[in-house]
């Protein structure tokens, strides 16, 4: 049978091992069970305080939450740990993809152009979303009343889609010739 921990150091080690491997915070009652009844509450509290300060400058901090004590990673590590479980990348809505496709294939275009082609109003959020991603930008204004912005795709967009130039986008001419009366 295991000999019970004798020294303060050994007792703190048992506490540390329990707290690092516990899936839930451990209440004082749980922690007392570790020592099979041979531990005073006051001593336990003192040990926890010591353990807490032992870890003061380390990766974990010993904290007390509603249901007990737990070790938790210091906040500064959270951004790194987040990389382990990246959120599933979202997808753009159909509207956003179509807006992007129109800008890519028919640039430079205004919002009005996009609306004409899609037959519905353009949601300004979608344009902003694509601009924030630095996939499109304003390359000028059309010389008509209201001077609407002309949008075009950027180098970033090409990079992100692994293209060297727009000419590498698959040509859709065959398709368009059949399907659309072209205004040439």
């Amino acid at each position: 049978m295991q000999t019970e921990p004798q020294t303060i150091v050994e007792m703190k080690q048992v506490l540390e091992a329990a707290l690092l491997t516990a899936a839930q915070p451990l209440a004082l009652e749980d922690l007392l069970r570790l020592f099979a009844g041979r531990m005073e509450r006051a001593t336990l509290r003192m040990l926890l305080d010591e353990l807490k300060s032992d870890w003061q400058t380390r990766t974990m901090e010993l904290t007390q939450v509603a249901s007990g004590w737990r070790f938790q990673a210091r906040a500064e590590y959270a951004p790194f740990l987040a990389r382990l479980n990246p959120e599933k990348p979202q997808r753009y809505s159909r509207v956003a993809l179509e807006t992007l496709a129109i800008i890519a294939y028919r640039q430079p275009v205004t919002r009005g152009d996009i609306e004409n082609i899609r037959g519905v109003a353009v949601n300004p959020n979608i344009i902003r979303q694509l601009q924030e991603r630095e996939w499109i930008d304003v390359v000028g204004q059309r010389d008509v009343p209201g001077r609407p912005s002309l949008y075009a795709t950027t180098k970033n967009f090409l990079d992100d889609l692994n293209l060297r130039s727009l000419a590498e986008l698959p040509p859709m001419e065959n398709f368009t010739q059949q399907e659309i009366p072209l205004g040439l």
């Binding site: 590590y77 082609i117 992100d160």
Partner: protein, 264 residues
């Protein structure tokens, strides 16, 4: 619990050498028979037990004794719990077959024939080693009981990722646009090479910075091939046609300048 007082044999005898102490003889209370039989994991387990209990050599099984004892157990089993017996009955048939083959006189020319017990012995040994392996697996420390894995808490933050767009997504979207646009026949979708449109954007970007650019300066005659120069020229024509740029010339044969169209 009755099965625990019936240590199932873990080791048989090989060439008279005992690998483990033999289990004590059994006393089976009649009402415990069912439980007792369930302590065996099958006919091989029972056979191993019998071999062990009666101190038989696994490599030189006296088939008559073994078969007789085995049949006695199977009879008990049939009386108590019939559905248990199917696998056991199959084994009885096999034992009887082996026994009868051993009784038959062998013609001299096939004296080299395998001992009919060989296959049974192989199976018993294979099963014996699996039983041992199972016990060793059970004895190994396991995560959740003997092994405790660190799982301290951390504040989960979600690192948001920009949506992924594949080339296929983009093309599918464009096809959908074109398909729908075909219903608005009043709208004219002009046709131009993509590289032309790309140049249009590039020229516009440049004109935003430089305001006024000489026509000739838009062409990089030294580095661009003919195809690219033509594309550039088409882009300028398209920009003029769409009213996006204005060309000016002060006098005949003086430089042509291009600037973004301004309403003023």
């Amino acid at each position: 619990m009755i099965p625990t007082v019936l240590p199932a044999p873990t080791n048989a005898r090989i060439h008279g050498e005992t690998l483990a102490s033999l289990p004590q003889d059994l006393y089976i209370p009649p009402d415990a028979l069912e439980v007792y039989l369930e302590a065996f994991e099958g006919p091989l387990d029972l056979l191993l037990y019998l071999i062990c209990k009666h101190n038989l050599d696994i490599l030189d099984i006296p088939m008559a004794d073994l078969t007789l004892q085995y049949m006695q157990y199977v009879e008990k089993m049939r009386a108590v719990k019939l559905e248990l017996a199917a696998d056991y009955l199959l084994m009885s048939a096999m034992l009887i077959e082996i026994k009868s083959r051993m009784l038959l006189p062998k013609p001299a020319e096939i004296e080299q024939e395998d001992d009919p017990r060989a296959q049974l012995v192989r199976r018993l040994m294979e099963y014996e080693s699996i039983k041992l392996a199972a016990q060793r697996l059970d004895a190994m420390p396991q995560v959740g009981s003997e092994i405790l894995v660190a799982q301290a808490y951390y504040q989960q933050i979600i690192e948001t990722q920009p949506p992924i767009v594949s080339l296929d997504d983009l093309i599918a979207a464009w096809k959908a646009v074109l398909e729908r646009a075909s219903h608005f026949t009043h709208h004219k979708v002009s046709r131009a090479e993509l590289s032309v449109r790309e140049h249009m954007s590039q020229i516009l970007r440049r004109l935003q910075k430089e305001k006024l650019v000489e026509f000739a300066a838009l062409f990089n005659v030294e580095s661009d091939g003919i195809a690219k120069l033509v594309v550039c020229f088409l882009a300028i024509l398209e920009l003029v046609r769409e009213g996006l740029v204005r060309m000016t010339q002060q006098a005949e044969f003086s430089p042509i300048y291009i600037q973004i169209s301004h309403a003023d």
